[in-house]
Symmetry: C2
């Protein structure tokens, strides 16, 4: 599949300028001015600008995943998720994933690598979310929560976690998406062991 | 798994008040004041408030999925996705899914139902995204694009679309998440046909 623009297909708008509508601790909202290359019109679209994020699939030696349960202000309720957070400026995604895992759960791993990269929402957000796989994860240090973080750490067998995603016990779309990316690797290994 | 709060686990903060930091056509950003029930502190957190969204798995009679490719202003690039959009106030999610499918692609279906509901981002967004399954989808009408929408419609076999999600050709997290929810149904049917 080519990513070039067909002659009569959707046009690639030209990005002209931007203005910040509001700036907050976790995101900025910008009005970004685009011009259509053929229709001679300009439009301002709303874009949420945020740093890249990371999510972590942390696999224990006995085939369990490390999960965190915390109160989430967006939905005003608890949410069961994989560990993750905001990547610091200039920080490598894998390093960020290992850091967030350690800070939120106290788990560290022997190997770590980037498994996938997605866009949380290409329509209105400019950032990416990197999925980091950490293997042989074991609890080895105390949690170092950010200010106002309170996190319950849970481990559960991989297949149970995948079922929770499918049954709707895990509702965070980026977590479900991360579990789908991990699942093919997991199934391939399970197949190799049969 | 209970959703109650363990005595020493993460606390359910109390939502006290909110103020709008910016209001736009597609989302509002609010500062929401919460109080910790035990620590006697109050904090304002940033919440992106948006209407609920819908995404549509549209399955053709010959086992293909209907996809849309469009320019996305958030990432300033093209994105391959399933159809979807904003649910109107008071609109049923399944009705919204059928409407978005018809408007964006010209496809209509014989049956439709809600397959799953997720939170795009529980940490900072208050809304949900509903996944609607439309079966026996066939092209029967012209597209009715919203102002500034230009959409290329593609169909591809289900297994190819699932592979695209795993390989990173589809990067929209809500789309990947929707495909994971659909996949178990698809595999169960394939198994039943063996």
């Amino acid at each position: 599949m080519s990513t070039s623009t067909p002659v009569n297909g959707p046009a690639q708008w030209e990005r002209l300028a931007e203005r910040t509508l509001v700036s907050t601790r976790v995101l900025d909202v910008r009005g970004v001015l685009f011009r259509h290359p053929r229709r001679e019109i300009e439009r301002e679209f709303v874009v949420v600008a945020a740093p890249d994020w990371c999510n972590v699939i942390a696999l224990t030696p006995d085939g369990r995943l490390v999960l965190v349960r915390q109160f989430r202000y967006g939905i005003d309720a608890f949410s069961l998720e994989i560990p993750g957070g905001v990547i610091d400026s200039g920080e490598d995604p894998v390093v960020a994933g290992l850091r967030e895992l350690r800070e939120e759960t106290g788990f560290v791993g022997s190997t770590a690598r980037l498994l996938a990269t997605v866009h949380p929402n290409p329509a209105i957000q400019n950032n990416r979310c990197h999925l980091v796989l950490v293997e042989n994860a074991i609890r080895s240090s105390a949690q170092e929560w950010d200010h106002d973080e309170e996190i319950e750490v849970i481990t559960a067998p991989v297949d149970e976690v995948l079922a929770w995603a499918r049954e709707g016990k895990i509702t965070h779309s980026l977590v479900v998406c991360g579990l789908m990316h991990f699942e093919s690797l997991w199934r391939a290994r399970a197949g190799a062991h049969v």
